[in-house]
């Protein structure tokens, strides 16, 4: 961040990593925020439909995925810390672990989607399922993107790159931590 620290980024230059990543993160949070507001509106208008949809969701699988992502985020944070002490090998191993847990998240998600599809619950079933597939699908797409970003910053592993990649990964983490209770748990 040192090369961006002095010039013209305003509040963004205080943050770790590349300031443009923070522009992206804020945009992403707006999108997920808007989808969750939509979810709240649908819950208000059609409480029975939302309740019926939620009762078909698997809390154990969602909970397992929460543990997986939080652990993965911890590994990514650890990778940044190791890189700043100069331990490049250790940092890369942590990043690989973070990425592997990201893949594990996607595998669990895949089982969940396959189970719903087998029950005939698709994106067009009703508004609850449209929003379920859109929010969790967008989130899963960001997990895919995040794994790619982690791989890239593991390869070109300057401290700034690592901070940038980890910031994105933590955003993916954070979105799930908000999405999981709102969509799966809160009834």
């Amino acid at each position: 961040m040192s090369e961006n620290g002095e010039g013209g980024w305003g509040a963004l230059s205080e943050l770790p990593g590349n300031p443009l990543m923070w522009v992206l993160i804020l945009s992403e949070l707006l999108v997920f925020g808007a989808l969750l507001v939509g979810f709240a509106a649908v819950r208000l208008l059609h409480p029975q439909m939302v309740l019926a949809g939620q009762s078909a969701l698997s809390i154990p699988l969602g909970g397992l995925n929460t543990l997986i992502l939080v652990t993965s985020g911890w590994l990514a944070a650890h990778a940044v810390r190791l890189r700043s002490t100069g331990d490049i090998g250790g940092s890369r191993r942590r990043l690989a672990g973070a990425g592997a847990l990201g893949l594990a998240f996607l595998v669990v998600k895949g089982f969940e989607y396959a189970d719903k599809a087998a029950q005939g619950l698709g994106i067009e079933t009703d508004t609850f399922w449209t929003l379920f597939y859109l929010t969790t699908g967008f989130h899963a797409a960001h997990v895919v993107m995040g794994i790619i970003i982690l791989a890239i910053v593991g390869w070109k592993n300057t401290t700034e790159n690592l901070e940038t990649g980890a910031a994105f990964w933590h955003m993916v983490d954070l979105v799930w931590l908000i999405l999981f209770p709102l969509v799966y748990l809160l009834r």
Binding site: G7, S27, E124, L134
Partner: protein
């Protein structure tokens, strides 16, 4: 002007200004037909006049972009243009192709797909023109200095050409026809054209405010990041009612709402740069157009777009005069004003005219902007009344149209004012300023 080859831009600016007058003239004819429906009904039916109005707009804006690129790229790349001769040949091909299309329309030769009515051979000629242009500017950038502005501009210009290719694909399935039609229409004006807009505004800010290039480039990256983030999936707001799956209503609503963000960022950007860099640049008119561009684009594209972009609202406003209001203010604010800003900045340099008609130009700004603004309000109110009577109360289409007569007369009046303003702008750019029209008397006009 630092490079001799920048002069080819003059061809494009002149051609664009000529078509600008024609476009607005046909707009006034259309406004007249709406209030007096038998006007020219045999010679020039409404649908044909509308084709000429919209096609002339698109062609002159593109011609203006080409001119902007030919002026901007040598100066940014610090090298002469790869081939000025090719640029001049390209201009004539483009102009003749556009003229042939218009003559064809008058004889009812067209393909009938809105905005893409050009016969196939004209479309292919446009592709050839685009390739000549891209070859010329890309070679220039490759041999010269690469800046963020030239990179973003080239990305936008290549994007324009690539997405135009979808105009050649016209599936017989009506839903797919519309899906790909929007890949041209939406991904142009709410995608790659915004990259051109941001790059040209960034160039004008560097030239006129003296703010460091490094700062301007950071803004440029943020703006184009926001534009692509919101604009690409924002295409979804056209997929609501054409037969696409219903989840597009969510995707379109969310992402197209965020399309306001890049336009808002452009307002903050231009005003911050002018505020930080001072307003000492002698070309006050070009500065006025640049600031006006970001403000009018924010209202026209951003605010007026958001008014009817959410799916539940669009369900009742779709295809009413609300859309026409948005279309007029958005095109004027974003792309007309951008082009005029660049013409106003570049033409005095190219023509080596120090005392130019700056005051007249600024009168043109205020008259045209007032005309388009009044038109936008007239159409917005017409659209709100139309939505209520037709979509909520369920009255018949023609009955409602009769009830909107007053608004259509006001729109025609605003259109005539716009035409007057456009003539002032073109006059001020084309005719040398007199001795008294120097910068000294520019002060009282502010």
């Amino acid at each position: 002007m630092k490079y001799e080859s920048q002069k080819v831009a003059l061809y494009y600016f002149a051609g664009a200004l000529g078509l600008f007058v024609a476009q607005v003239l046909f707009g006034v004819i259309l406004g007249t037909i709406v209030v007096a429906p038998n006007t020219l009904s045999e010679l020039l039916p409404f649908n044909i006049a509308r084709m000429i109005h919209t096609n002339a707009l698109i062609v002159w804006l593109l011609m203006g972009f080409f001119g902007c690129a030919y002026y901007l790229i040598p100066e940014e790349s610090e090298t002469e243009l790869h081939s000025p001769k090719l640029a001049i040949l390209q201009f004539w091909l483009f102009l003749i192709g556009a003229a042939a299309a218009v003559v064809g329309y008058l004889f009812r030769i067209h393909e009938g797909r809105e905005f893409l009515e050009q016969p196939l051979w004209i479309k292919l000629a446009i592709v050839v023109v685009a390739l000549m242009f891209l070859y010329n500017v890309t070679m220039t950038v490759l041999k010269g200095r690469k800046t963020a502005i030239t990179n973003v501009l080239l990305l936008g210009l290549w994007g324009i050409a690539v997405f135009f290719l979808f105009s050649l694909y016209n599936p017989s399935n009506l839903i797919l026809d519309k899906v790909f039609w929007w890949w041209v229409v939406h991904l142009w004006v709410e995608g790659v054209w915004e990259l051109v807009m941001a790059a040209v505004l960034a160039f004008l800010m560097i030239k006129m405010t003296g703010v460091d290039r490094e700062v301007v480039e950071k803004w440029l990256y943020v703006i184009i990041g926001l534009a692509l983030f919101s604009g690409i999936l924002g295409t979804g707001h056209h997929y609501y009612w054409i037969g696409m799956p219903a989840y597009w209503q969510w995707i379109g609503s969310v992402f197209s709402t965020l399309e306001v963000a890049p336009f808002f960022a452009m307002v903050v950007f231009t005003f911050m740069m002018v505020w930080k860099g001072g307003r000492t640049h002698p070309n006050k008119a070009a500065l006025l157009w640049s600031l006006g561009c970001s403000v009018f684009a924010f209202f026209g594209a951003g605010v007026w777009g958001f008014l009817h972009t959410l799916a539940p609202i669009n369900y009742v406003t779709h295809g009413t005069q609300v859309t026409a209001a948005h279309g007029h203010l958005a095109f004027y604010g974003a792309y007309v004003m951008l082009n005029i800003a660049m013409f106003t900045y570049a033409m005095p340099n190219l023509l080596k005219r120090e005392p130019y008609n700056q005051v007249l130009n600024m009168w043109g700004f205020w008259v045209t902007s007032s005309g388009v603004t009044f038109m936008t309000f007239a159409l917005t109110f017409a659209g709100v009344v139309q939505t209520h009577l037709q979509r909520v109360m369920g009255m018949g289409f023609m009955e409602v149209q009769d009830a909107l007569g007053l608004f259509y007369w006001m729109r025609l009046g605003a259109g005539v004012a716009t035409l007057v303003g456009v003539v002032l702008i073109v006059w001020s750019l084309a005719v040398p300023g007199g001795k008294r029209a120097g910068a000294a008397i520019a002060q009282p006009a502010e």
